[in-house]
Symmetry: C2
Subunit: 495 residues, 2 copies
């Protein structure tokens, strides 16, 4: 068997205790999250505890994105976690979208508050309020702001990283003097998200615009990147919104133009959250556990000293020497120093955690100047000259990245079907695919499809998206009316 | 005049609008925070908004400390922001300490909670709860954990960075098999904080143990670093607590020892918060505004292209070239590209923001291959060969660091008085000093001093602290009983 999910996993999985994906994808996910030490349940309804391995992964995600935001001229700020309840109700669509999910703070110390606060579900409102105080002239613009932090939206059924009442994200917020500049920002950030997914996480994602009924509460236009999980469901992996002047009018964010007129700012917001970890798990994982994309992996190479009782400490020292050589190349390396467990246990533990490359180092290897190397995406162990293993490691990791991206891209293409009848639509969705179909653009029609199939529109791919961007016209797959959007829309079930 | 606060400031301050420290230290602080774009008031009672310049400073603080925590084997985790109310009440001293300050969440969506949550004032309780599930054997120990995030403690009178209902920090939490190892951890972290203050922030701080009445709620022993502000008040700048088995007993954090016995873990916690930014402002600032310690400064060098209308763009380009040469040395450099304001405005703006070094670059300088350099701690402009200015910049910044540390150390020593009578004690405190006095160690006696003078014990310096560590015996400065602690205790008014 190969590692792409075709069979052998079952026995090994039973032995080491991970339910195969094909048996129950949901169980597989929950077990991997726990056993790989990514996260644990918490005593707070709907919230998780992120454990060190998950936290290290998130930190790498934060650092890459943060560097990119700064490189594109954005500045971080820190806004309060609480928002006056009255702010949320100022933008009509916004309150409708978020009211059912709000955490309400009604008492501080012994004082019962006359106007309660809410824990932020997102920060457009309070940021709009602050901007209105900071903005005077067109010379002050653009505001290119973002913050990292937690947000709070009540969830009934929790699933680590994917659906938690408290989750972690950055929220970008920008204000511009005119619509074209604001829309260019919206696109820039969507493209950065796309680049991050493809080039760092090895996730193929489809860039497109959301249909009206799937827009962010209060947005004029919402764009998303959508990824396909190995069960065929979609995960919205990042969003970028053009908010028009909706929030600036609600919060009086106006400025004097070059021509001395008063104008409301055009604003945007954009976010990637800790859900992206769910996408990594469900796009790359297999029956042995996680496969960490090498460029974001907390541990890129694990060195396993293979010794007996009498020479184990010496082999650990040799392992550290080898690790130092790898680290000198800028790689993130761990030496497994545990002496209370078998080598077999260690091998499976690091496979479960998805470390891209394992190096086994035994006394005989040391004498012969070789090491045993195993890539997580291959069944083969290779015996290599030690110097070659070290000098070739960066290229090996790049190769694993390419392999993951190609595998996921093939999977995405194979499970996205062009469909022109509603029967075929329903069959395709039921079988765990996305479908590409013409649609009339009517929200009620969209809803009837959702009611029938649980599939929603994912997005309308941009003209220059790598996938599914061809223009065309047809009739609505559900109601037969002429198609909207000038191309097929992607439908799928989603997380 | 020199920049150490002896006079000329007044006129300039009036002109550019900062109240001199000597006129009103509190006004000076608030104006500097706002005008230097560090922070702003928010519409949420007790909470601030940290603006880009303040956020960049905090990010540098976070990064240095985070790297150090990881280098000493600590792992980050993310625990929920909310804590079940019932957890807080489990450790008796803990609830007594925090109950008056709690933010209570009693409604989620439309559901009124039967047991409310609190927004964390600190996380010992929920972390203890999780640990009890993770800990089985001595082999699992130590747990070396920390997290970055916001905490919430109601404050009536807000002061940016110093006293806000929401503030930012890391909280370290560790669990150990025995007391000596736990105490060594407590000391290690205190020493890291000390090193950070001295070597990165140029802040001299006194390491010592808190007296019993100033301990953290639930701790066996609390250690602190204490800094002196330029108004003579103390700022507790970091704490490290030995919690004994108090929290592990409350949360059942126990393990099987090597000898197969059951034992409760010995735990620690430690923190530095966003208050440290207040310490930077109030230790180094002068009548012109901030002075950023060079090693943490968001901008270490600002380049000001000095041009006229017809050659301004060209000078900006030259400024960028110079900035690139400085950045190639790893320095953080900004080019002031604003063209709507005068050079004088720019000079004062960057002095207010405390940028350690300013370089002025004019067309004639360019022809002659020189630049004009001004260090923030000097009144002199120097004309230097461009290459020398670049190659000497790192050393210049180190020199400013040393100057700041020495100035603050001299100030600390000069304003800490040995006192042996209660009259002298009161006079010294009233005049804005710390005092070193013998004390009986009785909490009621300590309280009566506080009631008289508003001065509290800061700490009892460790035997190997750089300041005020000499051992000795005497009689209590207040009540005349024999002294405790084996040395003089530091008293002072505090923020």
């Amino acid at each position: 068997m190969t590692k792409d999910g075709s069979g052998k996993g079952d026995k090994k999985a039973q032995q080491y205790g991970v339910t195969p994906q094909s048996t129950d994808f949901n169980d597989w996910y929950n077990e991997v999250v726990k056993k790989a030490d990514l996260a644990d349940n918490s005593p707070v309804a709907g919230a998780m505890v992120v454990r060190p391995y998950g936290s290290a992964l998130w930190e790498n995600i934060v650092r890459w994105l943060d560097d990119r935001f700064k490189a594109t001229g954005h500045e971080s700020l820190v806004f309060p976690t609480l928002i006056p309840m009255g702010f949320i109700t100022k933008e009509a669509d916004h309150v409708e979208g978020f009211a059912p999910e709000l955490f309400t703070v009604s008492k501080i110390g012994t004082e019962v508050l006359s106007e309660p606060y809410v824990m932020r579900p997102t920060s457009e409102t309070i940021i709009g309020h602050m901007w209105s105080g900071w903005l005077n002239s067109y010379r002050d613009l653009p505001f290119l702001h973002y913050q990292w932090g937690s947000v709070f939206r009540a969830e009934l059924r929790t699933k680590a990283f994917l659906r938690t009442s408290e989750f972690f994200w950055h929220e970008g917020h920008t204000a511009h003097a005119d619509e074209p500049e604001a829309r260019a920002e919206v696109r820039q950030m969507l493209d950065i998200y796309h680049e991050f997914c493809r080039d760092v996480l090895a996730l193929p994602v489809v860039r497109g615009e959301k249909t009206a009924s799937e827009r962010f509460a209060g947005a004029v236009a919402t764009y998303s990147i959508e990824g396909m999980m190995r069960d065929g469901k979609a995960l919205q992996s990042g969003t970028s919104h053009y908010l028009g002047q909706n929030f600036s009018k609600a919060f009086d964010v106006k400025f004097q133009t070059r021509e001395q007129k008063e104008e409301y700012a055009h604003t945007t917001s954009w976010a990637i959250s800790s859900r992206i970890i769910g996408a990594i798990i469900m796009t790359h994982g297999d029956d042995f556990g996680l496969i960490m994309p090498p460029r974001i992996a907390p541990i890129q190479v694990v060195v396993i000293p293979v010794g007996r009782k009498d020479n184990f400490d010496a082999m650990v020292q040799e392992g550290e020497t080898l690790a130092a050589e790898l680290r000198a190349q800028g790689l993130r390396v761990k030496v497994d120093r545990r002496d209370g467990v078998t080598n077999g246990f260690k091998y499976n533990d690091w496979e479960l955690k998805g470390v891209p490359v394992r190096i086994e180092l035994g006394p005989r290897d040391l004498e012969q100047g070789v090491v045993v190397v195993k890539s997580r995406n291959s069944d083969e162990k290779e015996t290599l000259q030690r110097a070659d293993a070290v000098s070739g490691m960066a290229a090996r990791l790049d190769g694993i990245h390419d392999w993951l991206l190609e595998r996921a891209t093939t999977f995405l293409r194979e499970h996205t079907l062009n469909v022109d009848s509603y029967d075929a639509f329903q069959t395709a969705i039921e079988a765990g695919n996305w479908v590409r179909a013409y649609h009339c653009g009517d929200a009620a029609c969209e809803k009837s499809i959702k009611d029938d199939t649980k599939a929603t529109t994912r997005n309308v791919p941009l003209d220059d998206a790598e996938f599914f961007s061809e223009r065309g016209e047809g009739t609505c797959v559900k109601c037969g009316q002429p198609s909207a959007y000038g191309k097929r829309v992607i439908f799928g079930r989603q997380y």
